[in-house]
Amino acid sequence: MNIDLTQACPVLRNRTEENDREKGRIPVKCRQRNRFIPVFLIGVAVLSVLSLLYLEIDWLKMASRVGDIGVVFWDLAHLDFSNMDLILSSLVETISIAVLSLLYSLILGIVFGMLAARNVFRIPVLSVVTQSFFTFLRAVPTPVWVLLMLVCLGMGPEAGVAGLCVHTTAFFTKSFAQSFESIPDETIEALEVTGASRLSIFMNAVLPAALSQIVAWAGMRLETNFSECAILGMVGAGGIGYVISNSLQGYDYGAAGVAILLVFLVAYCIERGFVRIKKKFS
């Protein structure tokens, strides 16, 4: 039997325009419809069903534990300030790790972003090689890099800074390269015809023009790095994450609650702060 898929499944129908006209209605959609979208949606649905079957999630058991979520959060809400000195000092340590890794990555990101941007040196091979190298670094998540650095450099904040730097630099390289490439070619051309060298054009025109975007990326990344620091502490890279995981494991929910609240507050302040800075820059 020959089933017409477009008849059976309305989303795949491509000739809605003629269809509408036949029925005396005025068509409104684009002639060329993107047929990839329904295929994508069907694909997602199929993969979701397969995942559910594979994981064999016991929904009943999960539902019976929902009540515990309330209990734990209730315990967390009983803030315990007796360990404040330890919590504050590890919070400062976490902020320092986040700031230092951001600073190093900013410098490295500008250098590598310059190499990766297609419009700065106009050497396509250089851009492709840099881009793909950092795509590889980016594909490995930060905690894995920190674990690797812990093996190489030993326990402590150095490993945290180094591990965060790898991923942050990779992220900055891509985003800065995009920012540099968004500078109009005509602007670069205008400096090219003055006889300026490529590096000079980059430093005097491309970088200043991309500065507000760089600040925005840096702000976003400082916030992420700070929150990631909290996870990294749990694998032994120092900072407030260590306090959180230690307190949770020792059923000291009050102290963990204070630490989590502080993480949230600092992340929020960083975000608000950079929103203000960005406004002044643009």
Binding site: A196, N204, A209
Partner: protein, 268 residues
């Protein structure tokens, strides 16, 4: 008067098969003010960009100040380029920088090493930039962001940047196409004044025939990549205009009848 620029049977074809320039030959001498006119797609922009090798040519030779442009690469090309200023339709300034910084960009070609990279301009250059802004009536705006200026002011900064290079030749690619009539007049007056005072040869691509007739000492008419007229404005008669634009003079003026509207739409 010495020739500054010489086109020797220059041709350019693009990979898509378009012949933008066909065996174009002409000379430009010191102090000349040359307008290049022609309809869209006649090769005006290609001709201008072949001079400082923004577009590489496919045949013939461009001689600039006695040097063959097409033979140059890297450092020697940069040294040649700094003797040629260029002004663009869209000004192409760095809008997040100050007006003075944009003007000083004209000096970057002369600054090597660390100074060039970090933009450490000499006091002499800075004073020169300020004097130039004064001359162009922008002294009060030297420390404003370039984005704060109006279109005509931005183009004046573009002129200052090009003059800052100390060029022997100034190339202007549709310098007034984005401006209102009064700013356009200011810009054309300034171009003529600045180049005449410094004895700089000037080549201007223009859409506006009346402007070309008023300002130039010489007009080059291009049609489909070929020079169909080369001479002083007085010699440009109606028959030649029709040969250049493929339509009569009346249709080129605003408010003309017939297919004027569609012509304008095609040009835009």
């Amino acid at each position: 008067m010495k020739p500054i620029l010489k086109f020797d049977n220059v041709s350019k074809h693009y990979p898509n098969g378009v012949h933008a320039l066909k065996d174009v030959s002409f000379e430009v001498r010191e102090g000349e003010f040359v307008s290049v006119i022609g309809p869209s797609g006649s090769g005006k922009s290609t001709l201008l960009r072949a001079i400082n090798r923004l577009i590489p040519i496919s045949g013939g030779t461009v001689w600039l100040d006695g040097q063959a442009v097409s033979a140059l690469r890297g450092r020697s090309l940069r040294q040649l380029r700094r003797r040629v200023g260029m002004i663009f339709q869209n000004y192409n300034l760095v809008y997040s920088l100050s007006v003075l910084q944009n003007v000083l960009h004209g000096r970057l070609g002369y600054m090597g090493g660390v100074k060039g990279i970090f933009g450490l301009y000499s006091e002499e250059d800075k004073q020169g930039g300020l004097d130039l802004l004064e001359e162009l009536g922008l002294a009060d705006f030297a420390y404003n962001r370039a984005s704060d200026l109006s279109g005509g002011q931005k183009q004046r900064v573009g002129i200052a940047r090009a003059i800052m290079q100390g060029p022997k030749l100034l190339l202007c690619d549709e310098p007034i196409a984005s401006l209102d009539p009064s700013s356009a007049k200011t810009i054309m007056d300034l171009l003529r004044y600045m180049t005449r005072r410094r004895n700089i040869a000037c080549i201007v691509n223009l859409h506006q025939l009346d402007v070309a007739l008023k300002y130039s000492t010489r007009i080059i008419g291009l049609s489909k990549g070929e020079i169909v007229f080369d001479g002083p404005p007085e010699q440009l008669d109606d028959a030649t205009i029709e040969r250049i634009y493929g339509t009569s003079r009346e249709n080129l003026m605003m408010g003309g009848n017939r297919d004027d509207q569609t012509d304008t739409a095609d040009c835009a």
